[in-house]
């Protein structure tokens, strides 16, 4: 079993104009896992995927995918990588059957049973023209086309975008189905944290073009903690805390989220003499939002507008 990472980058950077869309990315993705790639819109996720698949030239840095340099992916490597774009775009004039026939001529390992299975599951008739398919049906067809060559690495760019719940569930089921074989790896970017929670082993977070998180789901959840401090009166100002994410202040309470909560942090907090100090659990979604949200003291987005009489 090949133990080298499926995807590896070193200093991968891409500029658009004067701005870096991906900045100094150092990623390592081992074989056989499900890797979720998260970040806000415009943080560089799609750019990263395009760089990894040789669809965009890096400004500097390097990377390998399945052991091949990303700048010169040979056809054999591409045969082993399945790529699903977020738009689920296909040639509008082809029928479902023609799409399958077209793709099958290129891939040596085309599995027609999988193709029929997935298209059947999405209720796609072979004679329907792609133009007349709904978004979800198109996604199903794209999924069928991507899964049929039995790729070792599946790269999905926001695969659930625009899918109805049934199609969405089918997508999730397909991803789980793929994990049957331990040499299959899935790399997907998503905004659906529920999906991430379900299927991902590891997650990575891109914050404004920079990779800030790469760890298992467990580690992330345990690293981001929420602390509630209750005070008898108005809470005092908060001193600097390393790893502080967000602070919510109410009349008698300070709620803060931070990373790497440890003894020193607790000491600092206790020094404020709260009446009560509780560590509270966070859902993955809340942890993610507070990690990527605006740092510092926060109030609800529209509350300033209400302050005026």
């Amino acid at each position: 079993m090949n133990e080298s990472p499926v995807i590896q980058t070193r200093g991968l950077t891409r500029y658009f104009g004067a701005k870096a869309a991906v900045h100094d990315l150092n990623l390592e993705m081992p074989r056989g896992c499900v890797y979720a790639f998260l970040g806000r819109n415009g943080s560089g996720k799609t750019t990263t995927i395009r760089l990894l698949l040789g669809l965009l030239e890096p400004t500097r840095g390097e990377g390998t995918i399945l052991g091949h340099d990303i700048r010169h992916l040979p056809p054999e490597a591409r045969a082993r990588i399945g790529y699903l774009t977020e738009e689920h775009q296909l040639y509008g004039w082809m029928t479902v059957r023609q799409c399958g026939e077209f793709q099958s001529k290129f891939y040596p390992r085309w599995n027609e049973k999988i193709f029929r299975g997935v298209t059947g599951h999405f209720n796609l008739k072979p004679a329907t023209v792609v133009k007349n398919l709904s978004r979800g049906e198109r996604a199903g067809l794209c999924l069928a086309l991507t899964l049929a060559p039995e790729p070792e690495l599946l790269v999905l760019d926001d695969p659930a975008l625009g899918l109805d719940p049934v199609a969405h569930r089918s997508l999730m089921e397909s991803m789980i189905y793929l994990t049957r074989r331990s040499d299959r790896t899935i790399f997907f970017s998503s905004h659906q944290l529920a999906d991430v929670e379900r299927v991902a082993d590891y997650l990575a977070i891109l914050d404004r073009s920079v990779l800030r998180v790469s760890c298992s789901l467990e580690t992330f959840r345990s690293s981001v903690r929420q602390v509630r401090l209750q005070f008898p009166g108005t809470p005092p100002p908060l001193p600097a805390i390393p790893g502080l994410l967000q602070v919510f202040r109410t009349e008698s309470e300070l709620r803060l989220t931070c990373v790497h909560y440890n003894g020193a942090t607790e000491q600092t907090l206790r020094a404020l003499s709260p009446a009560q100090l509780d560590l509270e659990p966070l859902s993955l979604e809340d942890a993610f939002i507070s990690y990527l949200g605006e740092r510092g003291e926060k109030s609800f987005i529209l509350s300033e507008t209400e302050a005026q009489p």
Binding site: E3, R78, E101
Partner: protein, 706 residues
Amino acid sequence: MKALIQKELRENLKLAVLGLIVISAILAIEIHSYSLGMKSLAAGRSEYVNWSALQPLVSPELLMLVAYFCAIFGALLGWFQIHNERHRDLWAFLVHRPATRTQIFLGKLVGGLVLYVLVTGMPLAGLVLWAVVPGHVAAPFEWQMLSPIALFLLSGVIYYLAGMLTGLRQARWYGSRALGLGLAVLVSVEIMDVPYAWQALGVVLIGGSILALAIWGGFHSNGFYRGQPAPGKPALVAALTPGCAFLVFLAFAFVFLGLLHLRDESTDRHFQVTRDGAIYKVIRQPGQPAEIADLEGKPALDPNTGRPAKLEDFNKRACNWISVNPRFDNHRYRYRWYGAARNELFNYYGTTPDTLWYNWNRYGRLVGYDVKTRQVIGSLGPEGFASDLSGNGSRLRIESGRAQVIVDGRILCTPDLEHRDLKELFTVTNEDCAAASLATNPAECVIGAVAPVSMYGSYMASPGSYIEHLNLIVGSGRENDILVVTRCFIRLIAADGTVVWTVPYQPAYPDYNQVRVTRLEATNQFALWLEPSWLIQEKTGGKLASHVIQIDGQGQVLKNIELPDLSYHPRTYSAQDKIMCVSLPPVVTAIIPLFSEQPWLKNIPWVLVGCSLAAALVCLPFGWWLGCRYSLSLPARVGWSVFILFLGIPGLLALLCAEEWPAREICPACQNLRVVDREKCEHCGADFRPPEKTGAEIFEPLAAAK
């Protein structure tokens, strides 16, 4: 790859069918209008006949339509083939598959070319088939006539490639994307310019290879300049440069000629003969009224006002000339291949009530086509009429546009088409030349030029009605006279063959190869003007004088005046020439003589090349500076600099269009601006600093699945 080709065929079928309909309609209309013209001619009416389209395969309208169609359809097809993927973000889908980019490129190319060939080839093949089968077209056919159509078809492929490149290129402004079309335009202009058809083919192949290579590179780099394999970059630059050159040239023309009205401002000096036989010298300096004075220096006066004459009024009194350039060798002026295919193979000669007659150079005979059946009825040659095309193999010498034919070089005949016979008018004998005591080779004693008076001369001093003009030359009743120039004599011959007057051809050919004849006001007086050839003037530096010879109605010389050559002067270039050359690449300025069929090395316009080179030298440091600023590699900088040196301002523009400029940031180590695409700072060698940590990073090594 076969799957790709099939997909391309299916995907672009709609556009192909549309194109097929358009070209078929165009050709059908041409065929129909030809048939209509022929049918009406058979019925005796000639107003529907398109006299320039007697052989539709070489008619200017048809060729223009074919050329435009091939170019437009080709460009659209190429562009759409890329647009199909680009505009729906399907590029990733196309490219991410187990096939090399070269295979994908070839798949598109082959698919597109098959469609192009079918759409343009099938209807044109149909047209050719129709024209070739006897009984459809009442005009000569030679396979060589197909070369213009064939080459326009090929140049359409260049447009196809240019369209594909336009769709493929990722460039900020759409205008920069479309620069590839400049190369296509250059190719389609040049193929008509070159002397031989195989050279035109070479031009097409070179242009096509450049574009194909640029597109191939673009497939590898997804349309960007950077990331291409090595041959793609120079090909792309070469593909863009002609477009840049056009832009720069147009910009200069707009500014200097359009806005600033810079014009060729040189003094014009020439002699003019008025109808009374007097000779005047006309000097026109820019911005000043013309000075007109006679040979003694007396200014010409307006007869009505007594004041110095104005040029327009003076020109009304000037003579109109018949002008011929006699030729005494067998060398025919060689059109460039394009013109040859259209003009040199045959010419329309005339019509008799049911026959169209052509001068067919291949056989050297007058060939007749029956208008009703549109088939050959026979040919007229020196020995008379034969019912096939070549008769006994003997040939006539027929000048295009002249009614008279020459047999054997010495006998001037007028063809009588009604009776399918030749009527002899005049014969040259050796005694002619011997009598004039000229030691000439008998073989040279041939007819050099023939000019029916009814074809008016080339220099018309003032516009006037045709009849009035004829009268000016020879007077009424003499419209059918013929001017005949032999090696030794210049003669005017009446329509029945009697010689009106004979004048020795002195000074002789080849130094003097321009002969002009006109009639003067006084009854039966004529003037001849013999001018030296441009070649001899170049050689002697303009020393030879032209001669104006005044004769009476019998050929007696009354006056023989020598006039110095005013219009020859050493080649100088106007400010307009120099400024427009600043906009041209130095290599183009250096090869300008090639276009005028002069020996190249002797005639390189060094002054103009200097202007272009000066512009290139100004652009060079700017190009070098750009290379340094954006930290291009040394070979790249040198390469661009050499390129700009050879290609001037367009080269710099091509650099700006093609290259992709990396961003620059401040290096924290040395505080200079450094480019972002190099690992180490080009000034201090420091690496890039990784982005600042926020303290909130969460990293752990990831283990593979068990």
